[in-house]
Symmetry: C3
Amino acid sequence: MEPVFLGAVTILALLEQAYFSLQVIYARRKYSVSPPSTTGPAEFNRVYRAQANCSEYFPLFITALWTSGIFFSEGVSSLCGLLYLYGRLQYFWGYASAAQGRLAPLYFCANVLWALIGCSALGVFLSFSKIYLDVDVRQTASAALGLH
Amino acid sequence: MEPVFLGAVTILALLEQAYFSLQVIYARRKYSVSPPSTTGPAEFNRVYRAQANCSEYFPLFITALWTSGIFFSEGVSSLCGLLYLYGRLQYFWGYASAAQGRLAPLYFCANVLWALIGCSALGVFLSFSKIYLDVDVRQTASAALGLH
Amino acid sequence: MEPVFLGAVTILALLEQAYFSLQVIYARRKYSVSPPSTTGPAEFNRVYRAQANCSEYFPLFITALWTSGIFFSEGVSSLCGLLYLYGRLQYFWGYASAAQGRLAPLYFCANVLWALIGCSALGVFLSFSKIYLDVDVRQTASAALGLH
């Protein structure tokens, strides 16, 4: 069964990056900053750096999303993924208007990313216990909680 | 059955990035631009920016390639992947000789990337329909077209 | 059976990138370089470029790690992964203290990455032979060596 929710969040992430790239192209035209130059007026620099930061974190996000989704839970990871993408949109718009405006959404995104890394670590640990130590923590926990 | 064609395109993509990185190293020597500096004569800046742009898009490309390959079609995705890598080579060489030379191959690569994102979205939608709505669009379409 | 060792190395890679990002934040504070600016005293520039280089190679590393791990061998890939992450740590610390200090670990990391790409290529070739040419090179080699 394909992980359709991870797939859907991944596509949204790609579309968001495409949107950020287009904003840089518009900013290049508006402030007359032609490639290969990457600096210009402060307004341009903020849009450029916002996109660069989102691009830099994109691989970390996708990696954490799928590791957490495969080893821990597709539902939890997809939900975190949506929150992250929402946070990145706020970050981009906030940074584009003022350097200060990037901070709150940046902390939010960092926290969501930490949650995904934490879920990944927990999931890898649970899989390791099950495969190599023959201890199925998930099932034991469910049984202890009287879930079945 | 492992997706060998996606694997092969992925290896080609890694080799292409290695080639671009080596070109930056040669350009650093030729124009005497020592790290951590990243700017120098216009010739160096173009090579540096060409590689930076390819690196920035590498994760988007790999993500779209595999999402499209897993959810939609390995063959179609691998073919798009080869076109993209060919376009990136033209882009790099074009940009290295003149800023204007990057444009045509860049639009080509962007279109191929859009195709991969479109195939990914279609594939995720088809998988979702099949798993959660119990509607197998692929099979229905084949039947309607008299393919079996 | 989930590839828990690839998962574990992936989590370590994410944690290492988080550590590098935090070092840039500390360097920004120490040398008073506020975003969107990305240049300052040489000490800051080196830390910034070290992190940028690690970020740029992160997607290549993760891609090669998993391609090699899926198509060739999880054990070999995970071991190479640990060596790479160790090399990147040495690179970051070396570069932060002097531009010259980045070179030895950079060559080491490049070699490990080449090994991962080589293993990926070998693995894809072996899978291709098995699926499409009906030649199981692994088994033939094991038999020839009297391993079973």
